[in-house]
């Protein structure tokens, strides 16, 4: 058990390409942290630097109170689960899990005890004699986790472990991983490009983009209070709508869209947005905050008209797509409504949940 500190860590490749541009991150003992971001954002590089599989160009990485920059992976007391599982194909499940312990000269009894314990946690006792070839994807995944658990390391590292599983199994294994973490309570760093995985698993989510950390925080906070346009767009599915707009003040502070529609800003937010009057901004509004109109509107809900382009019934909801001056917008409406393409639909925007992004900085204000 240990905390992990990443301090001003830089990874540069030949030709001065920086994959990671000086990031700071403190991970507490027993915490489950997920690094998420699009491919090439530096998340996997960061994980490999923690593992010692990539050299650190600058900065320091601490594991459990020691600087580990120059410590080889085997001496860092970490265990890792890989995307392709990296099981040794010619060894049985038992041997796969035992191999690392054997090399560390554990006694036979101790090895057996640990493997059996891990197998019990993962519910793979009946697979111990099999070869990886004879296992399903989900079972291989468990074995890979078993190999990590038996080592009882200071830190677990997961490198996109679920991306090779089909959708259904992925959801199931996600729950398993969370359960295992609740049982063994080992500090965990988990890398994924799937924001749903990040949201469901993490104590704290770290959103990375272009080698920097955009925002760190608990899932709910990232969802409700994204710090940047990137985080706002990356977290949440379907993605947040972005509309270019201007803050105007002609008889009350309002957001004026490109097509001239004016959406009044709630009074409690006026002070926050007043300084941006006249500036180019982007209005961010999640689809679930753009819905059909109600008889009895809540305060701070404004109405707008939309010319429906495409309707997507999803069962428990229906997504309606339309354009505002060429910018695509998606709204989430009651599935019981009958909506046709080309019709005009009156929608209600819940301005309590609006976000204003300063175009100059890309930050949410």
């Amino acid at each position: 058990m240990a905390q992990v500190s990443i301090r001003k860590v830089v990874k540069a490749y030949e030709g001065n390409v920086q994959a990671v541009k000086g990031i700071d991150l403190e991970i507490a003992d027993e915490e489950f942290v997920v690094l998420v971001g699009p491919s090439g954002c530096g998340k996997s590089t960061t994980l490999r630097m923690i593992a010692g599989l990539e050299e650190i160009t600058g900065g320091e990485i601490w594991i459990g109170g020691d600087v580990v920059n120059d410590v080889p992976p085997r001496d860092r007391d970490i265990a890792m689960v890989f995307q392709n599982y990296a099981l040794y194909p010619h060894m049985s499940v038992f041997d796969n899990m035992a191999f690392g312990l054997k090399l560390r000269k554990f006694s036979k009894e101790e090895i057996k005890k640990r493997v059996d314990e891990a197998a019990r946690i993962l519910d793979i006792q009946m697979l111990l004699e099999r070869k990886p070839k004879a296992l399903s994807g989900g079972q291989r995944q468990r074995v890979a986790m078993g190999r990590a658990i038996v080592r009882n390391p200071k830190v677990f590292l997961f490198d996109e472990p679920l991306s090779n599983l089909d959708a259904k199994l992925r959801v199931q294994m996600r729950t398993e991983i969370k359960k295992v973490h609740q049982t063994v309570r080992t500090t965990t760093v988990y890398v994924t490009h799937d924001q749903v995985e990040a949201m469901t698993l993490a104590d704290r989510v770290v959103v990375m983009n272009h080698g920097v950390i955009e925002q760190v925080g608990p899932p709910q906070e990232l969802y409700h209070n994204p710090a940047t346009r990137f985080v706002a767009g990356f977290i949440g599915s379907p993605a947040m709508n972005f509309l270019s707009a201007q803050i105007t003040d002609n008889g009350g502070l309002a957001v004026e869209l490109a097509d001239g529609a004016k959406l009044a800003i709630p009074p409690q937010r006026r002070d926050r947005y007043a300084p941006y009057k006249g500036k180019k901004v982007t209005l961010g509004l999640r689809p679930e905050h753009l819905t059909e109109t109600q008889d009895q509107e809540k305060p701070n809900v404004v109405q707008m008209d939309a010319l429906v382009d495409v309707v997507e019934p999803m069962g428990m909801e229906t997504m309606v797509h339309f354009f505002v001056r060429g910018e695509p917008v998606c709204a989430r409406v009651d599935p019981n409504l009958v909506i046709k393409p080309e019709q005009t639909l009156r929608l209600a925007a819940d301005m309590n949940n609006m976000h204003i992004i300063d175009d100059a900085t890309g930050k949410v204000v």
């Binding site: 265990a79 890792m80 040794y88 010619h90 690392g100």
Partner: protein, 314 residues
């Protein structure tokens, strides 16, 4: 080892893989007369020249044919004569001695080189070029070059004596007890580059995550090769062994160019034995029997191998 070996059986294992996969069912192809017509010459040639010839040779090996074919059945007469002749006994034993040493040497050197080159050495392509060029040479040229180097009168022995060791002796190639071993030098020299590129390609195909896993598990590099990586390549290594063994059975040019089978018939190999008996001694009956033994040796190796491959792929 026959030159043609260098170009022969590479295409095979891949073929086996596809044969047993159900891809055919996935994309049903169309019957067409033209396709069948295009294959007719091949079918005829395979049937007559390959398999027809084999049947003929097998039959002749069971007759009393000597200079001209005779067709009276004589059972195992030729085989009896063959295995009672001293020259065949030597030749047959030589196949195993040469075969064993050649497999061990070629495979050992080839794997070692592949592992070394796999360690991200600089100038890799230069090293590869040097290690692989023998494969472009014929066994005739290879055999002659090694004959000159190993010859006591102009080769190593003469050279070392000239350096001030007048009693230095290295005359394996002229001694009946040792001449067969000299073939191994040339065989290993010629073939280990090939084994290297095959194994290297296998090593490069190993999922990099396996390597990362061994590092996180704290396995030393040499141990990772021995316990994880090379065992993963076992099917490939078995393929290599089969290829080397087949090459050994077919070895003709190398013997001709290097030792001529001599002194006496001390370094003779079956491939040369058969040709000599057909074309110089005009004894096609005994030659056919020896050829059938060669065929049997190849089948004894290929049979289990093909079976193993099919089972593995399935």
């Amino acid at each position: 080892m026959d030159d043609a070996v260098a170009r022969e059986p590479r295409a095979l294992t891949g073929t086996l893989a596809e044969r047993s996969t159900p891809r055919r069912a996935a994309s049903p192809r169309v019957r067409e007369v033209a396709a069948r017509l295009a294959l007719v010459p091949t079918v005829l040639v395979m049937a007559v020249c390959f398999y027809g010839s084999i049947v003929w040779t097998v039959y002749i090996s069971m007759t009393r044919s000597s200079m001209l074919p005779e067709y009276g059945f004589a059972g195992l007469f030729q085989y009896n004569r063959l295995f009672n002749s001293l020259s065949w006994q030597t030749t047959f034993d030589n196949m195993f001695i040469f075969g064993f040493l050649d497999v061990v040497g070629t495979l050992g050197v080839g794997i070692l080189l592949a592992v070394v080159v796999d360690r991200h050495v600089r100038f890799e392509s230069l090293f590869r070029t040097i290690l692989l060029y023998p494969l472009a040479l014929s066994f005739i040229v290879t055999g002659l070059a090694w004959q000159w180097i190993l010859s006591p009168t102009i080769g190593i022995e003469h050279f070392v004596r000239g350096l001030g060791f007048p009693h230095f002796v290295f005359d394996w190639i002229t001694q009946p007890e040792t001449s067969i071993y000299t073939l191994v030098f040339a065989g290993v020299w010629h073939q280990s580059g090939f084994i290297m590129v095959v194994i290297l390609a296998g090593l490069r195909g190993i999922d990099p995550e396996i390597w990362r896993a061994t590092r996180v598990d704290g396995i030393p590099v040499w141990r990772a090769y021995v316990s994880v990586i090379l065992p993963m390549l076992r099917p490939l290594i078995v393929t290599c062994i089969v290829l080397i063994v087949i090459a050994v059975v077919k070895s003709y040019d190398l013997v001709v160019a290097m030792t001529g089978g001599g002194p006496g018939f001390s370094s003779d190999l079956p491939a040369k034995f058969v040709i000599d008996y057909v074309f110089q001694r005009a004894n096609i009956g005994e030659a056919s029997a020896a050829a059938v033994i060669m065929l049997g040796s190849v089948i004894a190796i290929m049979g289990p191998y093909l079976h193993f491959e099919m089972v593995r792929k399935r």
